[in-house]
């Protein structure tokens, strides 16, 4: 293995990661710039964070975004997990091809189309645009990502565990909550986080489906960016990055601990 982990491979990985991370690192560094000019370093300062926290419209937008994210990710996780179960467990039901199409298509569907079509639906059924419509739109497009994440875990799931539980007299519902759910939980958790960050991120779909009083943070940032690059936006972006990075790191630590625990349990079971 070491012979093939050649210099070429190392260089391509280092360059690739530099390309992926440098822009983000630069953005974070310049959010602490004392100068108003975003590309000239004028010393260290946290003034843009202070001015950000004094900006009520930014705080309002952040609050809307967080509420939409938490609610839509939770609903999308429930729906997406059900969709994954339907896809993996029930191989024969009428309209299954259409169903799997509707699960996979939103993953690649250009956002302008999803946004426009949802908006026209909301207008057609007479739903006023606002918080609720953004929420419904986000549930719809993020649930498919959850479904794909959970599905990939379910495929590798050892079904003999469930059969054993049911042979021992557990009902299917009890089997699901006591055997299946704990095993697929890491996938469900990462599905939830993916849904949350996608919702936190979304500009296009939110712009189409949002109404007065439901401006999300990306919409706010976008309208500011159009006016030019300012250090406040760098500060806002840095805080969003920090929230997401902390979440991802926490999740991976939890996952790792669960994995270690599971290995320990398995070893204990084998000994016993």
């Amino acid at each position: 293995m070491n012979a093939t982990w050649s210099r070429f491979n190392i260089v391509s990985i280092v360059l690739g990661f530099a390309f992926l991370y440098l822009p983000i690192v630069i953005l974070v560094i310049f959010s602490f710039n004392a100068s108003r000019l975003v590309t000239v370093w004028g010393g260290f300062s946290t003034q843009w964070y202070v001015s950000l926290f004094n900006n009520q419209s930014f705080l309002d937008a952040a609050w809307v975004t967080i509420r939409v994210g938490l609610l839509s990710a939770t609903a999308a996780t429930v729906l997406g997990t059900m969709a994954a179960l339907a896809l993996v467990r029930y191989t024969r039901f009428r309209g299954r091809i259409l169903f799997s199409g509707m699960v996979f298509a939103p993953l690649v569907m250009p956002e302008v189309i999803t946004g426009l079509s949802l908006l026209l639906l909301f207008v057609a059924i007479g739903l006023d645009r606002g918080f609720l419509t953004v929420l419904l739109a986000h549930i719809t497009f993020t649930m498919c990502f959850v479904a794909v994440v959970v599905q990939s875990r379910l495929i590798t799931f050892d079904r003999s565990l469930e059969e054993a539980a049911m042979d021992l007299g557990a009902t299917p519902v009890k089997t699901f909550f006591q055997v299946t759910l704990p095993v697929i939980l890491p996938a469900i958790v990462s599905g939830w986080m993916l849904a949350f960050t996608l919702s936190l991120d979304d500009l296009v779909i939110a712009s189409f489906t949002s109404g007065p009083g439901a401006t999300t943070l990306p919409m706010k940032i976008y309208s500011q960016v159009r006016l030019g690059v300012t250090p406040e936006i760098n500060a806002a972006c840095t805080m969003l990055i920090a929230v997401v990075a902390l979440g991802v790191i926490a999740a991976s630590v939890v996952n790792k601990q669960r994995e270690v625990q599971r290995l320990r349990d398995e070893q204990a079971a084998q000994r016993g």
């Binding site: 896809l87 024969r92 699960v103 250009p110 956002e111 189309i113 990939s152 519902v173």
Partner: protein, 317 residues
């Protein structure tokens, strides 16, 4: 809708009558709830878009936006045919040029992403096993940070007085700043950068599964490494190449944020055209028609993507 009870009953031979009924109800619910949700919020809206794309502006605009009264009057004079909006799209070269540019830009960006992503994925798949999860997480991590932020970060780098030009001028490579922002080059950079994880992940999973003793065998038999790559490694990674290219190409065709922020006002891409028709011109029927044609353009790659997903799902079972 759910025709699974027979299937389920085979799976649970020891279930009592009551448990069987509960199982049947839950299995129906598990299918029906997400099914109906997607039917209502994903499929039905497309029919509404199609319906509105055929209608006159006056009918389609909701009554609470009186701003468009002028446009709707103007529009109703153009003709009574319901395919007006489509004729409009065909007659105005602006639209088909925008479609063409979108496909070309997305195509070139996809190839660039493949060229950049392949060495990364290959390097990762050859990394020591203990390092791989970390490398994988490092590829996924930028994907979790906001798309908008990552595009925005490039503005400060690419603009004439930006960091790239400052750097290149300070080391003496160039004397005058390069004009990159607001050109197609900036769009390529933006798309490659934003969609790179989508390219790397499927490539990595294809390359990681590969049996590298094949390469060793080829080398032992005197095949030069580069030839071995093109004859063995690359063909075996085709599923990853296809998946990665589709994952980049399809959304890139309809991309709005990247051409809008990096491409400047002269760039015509269809996602931006749709956005402008909707938000600036407030012409809902025309933007619906733009969306329907974009959808028709993408229906083949999307179907192929679904077929591919279903196939890999079957293989994993």
């Amino acid at each position: 809708m759910a025709d699974t009870t027979a299937n389920q009953a085979v799976d649970i031979p020891k279930q009592g009558q009551e448990g069987g009924i509960i199982a049947a109800i839950t299995s129906r619910l598990v299918i029906a709830v997400p099914y109906l949700w997607l039917l209502f919020f994903f499929l039905v809206p497309f029919f509404i878009v199609f319906k509105i794309s055929l209608s006159q502006t006056a009918i389609a605009i909701p009554p609470y936006t009186p701003v468009v009264d002028g446009i709707s009057d103007l529009f109703s004079k153009i003709g009574e045919f319901s395919f007006d909006n489509y004729l409009w799209l065909i007659e105005d070269p602006l639209y088909y040029r925008a479609y063409l540019r979108s496909v070309v830009i997305a195509g070139i960006s996809t190839l660039l992403a493949l060229a950049v992503g392949y060495p990364i994925a290959y390097g990762m798949s050859r990394a020591p096993i203990s390092l791989r999860p970390t490398l994988l997480m490092l590829v996924i991590l930028p994907f979790w940070t906001s798309f908008l932020i990552r595009v925005y970060a490039w503005i400060g780098i690419l603009k004439p007085e930006g960091l790239l030009n400052q750097f290149l001028m300070s080391i003496g490579v160039i004397n005058d700043p390069l004009i990159i922002l607001n050109t197609d080059t900036a769009i390529y950079i933006g798309i490659v950068y934003s969609y790179l994880p989508f390219m790397v992940l499927p490539l990595y999973s294809a390359l990681e599964k590969m049996d590298y003793t094949l390469i060793e065998a080829a080398n032992d038999l005197g095949c030069p490494p580069l030839q071995a790559f093109w004859k063995i490694t690359f063909p075996l990674s085709i599923p990853g190449v296809v998946a990665g290219c589709l994952l980049v190409f399809i959304p890139a065709v309809g991309e709005f944020v990247i051409p809008d922020l990096l491409g400047g006002s002269n760039t015509l891409m269809i996602g931006k055209t749709l956005w402008n028709e909707f938000f600036a011109n407030r012409d809902w029927p025309v933007s619906s028609a733009v969306a329907i044609i974009l959808l028709l353009l993408l229906v083949v790659p999307i179907m192929y993507f679904q077929h591919y997903q279903a196939k890999s799902q079957e293989a994993g079972r």
